[in-house]
């Protein structure tokens, strides 16, 4: 079994491991770290994720982002340029196809060939490993905005080696997220360790003056209580910081109840600073990202646009700098360039209409949600750290297996999946089942009360059927 600890990987161990990582596929040879650092240093600041986001002029802006990935370089360049020009985008992305994510490089090769032959995208994203550093550079050079990768992979080491050397300045990189959602075979320690490598790589870039901004992704799904999402985020933030990461996106998954979402986002801002400082990472900066949970989305176009507007307003209310959004075709297929552009325009315009306008959520509820989410998050997070005797990584492994930190819909068979969230009558997510989470009676009573309220309205006990209903609510144009 891998021995995982939240300690910075020694440079020689890292470089030894690198050799093996880079030898996985021929394009690994193209990666030359020193040369890549020079390449990054020559990027103008407006093409660097962290610099763009930390520019004081942008600190109160809300920029849209979404996944975007075609199979061939030509398609990808055409896509990103269109989104940049027609969509008036501020940030761009490279979504990595899911065969690359699972290292099925032979299948990728076939898909890539077919895509070139037919002119159609056969893969659900850009196969970055196959395109290699030189291919990726062509993309980065074709656009005038920062580009970040988006993927979920149990082992993203080669993906990040190549895409970062290629000039991406943002990336994914949340180990816990990828253990829970992207993996059915590997134990948590292996997945977390793979990600420590990525964090260490980013740390190396940072040590050499190149800012790279990975994302703590949390839990994207529907019906997941915010304290669970935030605990997950904070553990990964601490693990990233330990490896030398200096800029972190914190992706908070909103569920649509504004008091809960905004209250939780406030908690997240507070706790992220507090825990970073406590562990000695005073120089690590966070950037808040929000997005509505990934559940069934509406097929009907008017409703789809309403979801985009709502997603954007939630981001605005949460004070998020990045508005992570699903496109108008989310319910159906991978978005075309037109879909993305129109989605970005819509998001930008709605945010612009609210520009400089102070709107706020009912302060009383906000305060309650903010406090509850803070108490809950502290209980879980502190217990995780305690389990590891102060080492969050060690604690995490134990917490995952014992369900001290749990996931309702994990893909890994190693996860208990006992915890289950459900919406209350106002759309705030409560614990229907708290599994093994270390909560006090008072907290549980609060959740119980909210659940009973909705049960009264429904005239029946909440059950799996209600959970399903919640997961499909947005697709029908309602929150609950």
């Amino acid at each position: 079994m891998i021995d995982i600890r939240n300690k910075k990987i020694e440079e020689d161990v890292f470089f030894q491991e690198r050799e093996q990582v880079l030898s996985e596929w021929p394009t690994g040879k193209e990666v030359d770290l020193d040369e890549a650092i020079t390449f990054h240093k020559n990027l103008p600041p407006h093409k660097v994720w962290a610099k763009k986001m930390l520019d004081p002029r942008n600190r109160s802006e809300t920029f849209a982002i979404t996944g975007m990935g075609k199979t061939t370089l030509e398609q990808q360049i055409e896509l990103l340029r269109y989104v940049q020009d027609e969509g008036q985008a501020e940030l761009l992305a490279t979504s990595v196809d899911s065969f690359t994510r699972v290292h099925k490089y032979d299948v990728v090769e076939k898909g890539l060939r077919e895509s070139m032959e037919t002119g159609q995208s056969r893969l659900n994203g850009l196969p970055v490993v196959h395109h290699g550093v030189n291919g990726i550079r062509k993309i980065i050079e074709s656009v005038d905005l920062p580009v970040g990768t988006r993927y979920g992979a149990a082992d993203p080491r080669l993906i990040d080696e190549i895409s970062l050397a290629g000039g991406h300045t943002g990336c994914s990189g949340d180990g816990l997220y990828n253990f829970w959602n992207m993996n059915s075979k590997l134990p948590p320690e292996t997945v977390l360790r793979n990600h420590q490598y990525v964090h260490r790589l980013i740390g190396y870039y940072e040590e050499h003056g190149v800012p790279i901004t990975p994302a703590c992704q949390g839990m994207y799904g529907g019906g997941i209580p915010s304290s669970l999402v935030m605990t997950a985020l904070l553990t990964q933030m601490l693990m990233m910081a330990e490896q030398g990461v200096k800029h972190v996106m914190l992706h908070f998954t909103a569920q649509g109840n504004l008091a809960q979402d905004v209250g939780s986002a406030r908690t997240l801002q507070k706790l992220s600073r507090e825990y970073l400082d406590r562990f000695g990472h005073k120089d690590v900066v966070t950037i808040l990202t929000t997005g509505l949970s990934l559940v069934g989305y509406p097929v009907e176009l008017g409703s789809a646009f309403a979801a985009i507007a709502f997603n954007s307003i939630v981001a605005k209310l949460c004070g998020a700098q990045i508005n992570d959004i699903r496109t108008v075709s989310e319910a159906m297929t991978i978005p075309t360039k037109e879909d993305i552009a129109i989605t970005f325009r819509s998001a930008k315009v709605i945010v612009d209409f609210f520009k400089g306008q102070a709107i706020q959520v009912d302060p009383k509820n906000l305060e309650i949600e903010s406090q509850m989410s803070e108490m809950e998050t502290r209980m879980i997070l502190d217990r995780v750290i305690e389990l590891g005797d102060g080492d969050v990584a060690v604690g995490l492994i134990q917490a995952i297996q014992s369900g001290i930190l749990d996931h309702p819909f994990a893909t890994s068979p190693l996860v208990p999946c006992h915890v289950m969230g459900i919406k209350d009558k106002h759309g705030a997510v409560r614990y229907l089942n708290h599994g093994n989470l270390p909560f006090t009676k008072e907290i549980l009573a609060f959740h119980k009360e909210k659940i009973t309220e909705r049960e009264k309205d429904l005239g029946k006990k909440m059950d799996y059927e209600t959970v399903v209903n919640d997961l499909l609510a947005i697709s029908r144009g309602v929150l609950v």
């Binding site: 056969r122 893969l123 659900n124 069934g296 297929t333 994990a410 893909t411 068979p413 799996y464 399903v468």
Partner: protein
């Protein structure tokens, strides 16, 4: 729930290939169990071989393949042939999720996969009651 002995049939379920979209199949599995089916749930990232082995072992009536990632065109071909090779001659193959990348008319999507030997192919958004109704009809007609 129904007693195991009186199960309406045995279903092997899973998400194929590289795919990790687990929520839809979990919901479906739950609904199938509630409706009285026996469910053999293989989880995500299941290979064709794993589907067939499970179906053989449990003498399944149907294999329910979920594919959301858009790669079904790459992952689904050959499954019917492998079933026949394995002697699963009259096993029902159902396919659902979000099957193709890019906007394609549903008729074309359906035809593509029916031609591969699937018995029923479902568009995104189909709900468990519909699937259960079809299963009941299909298994009844089998007898």
């Amino acid at each position: 729930m129904t007693d195991e002995n009186e199960t309406k049939g045995t279903m092997v379920t899973g998400v194929i290939g590289d795919d990790v979209h687990v929520v839809g199949i979990r919901i479906l599995e739950h609904a199938l169990r509630e409706a009285g089916f026996k469910v053999v749930a293989l989880g995500v990232q299941v290979s064709q071989e794993e589907f067939i082995d499970a179906a053989t072992e449990t003498n399944a009536d149907a294999i329910l393949v979920s594919s959301l990632s858009g790669h079904a065109q790459i992952l689904a071909p050959g499954l019917r042939e492998k079933c026949i090779e394995a002697g699963l001659n009259d096993i029902r193959l159902y396919l659902g999720g979000q099957l193709m990348i890019g906007k394609t008319a549903w008729e074309d999507v359906e035809k593509t996969f029916m031609d591969m030997g699937f018995n029923r192919v479902y568009p995104p958004g189909v709900l468990p009651p519909q699937i259960i109704k079809d299963l009941e009809a299909d298994l009844a007609s089998k007898k």
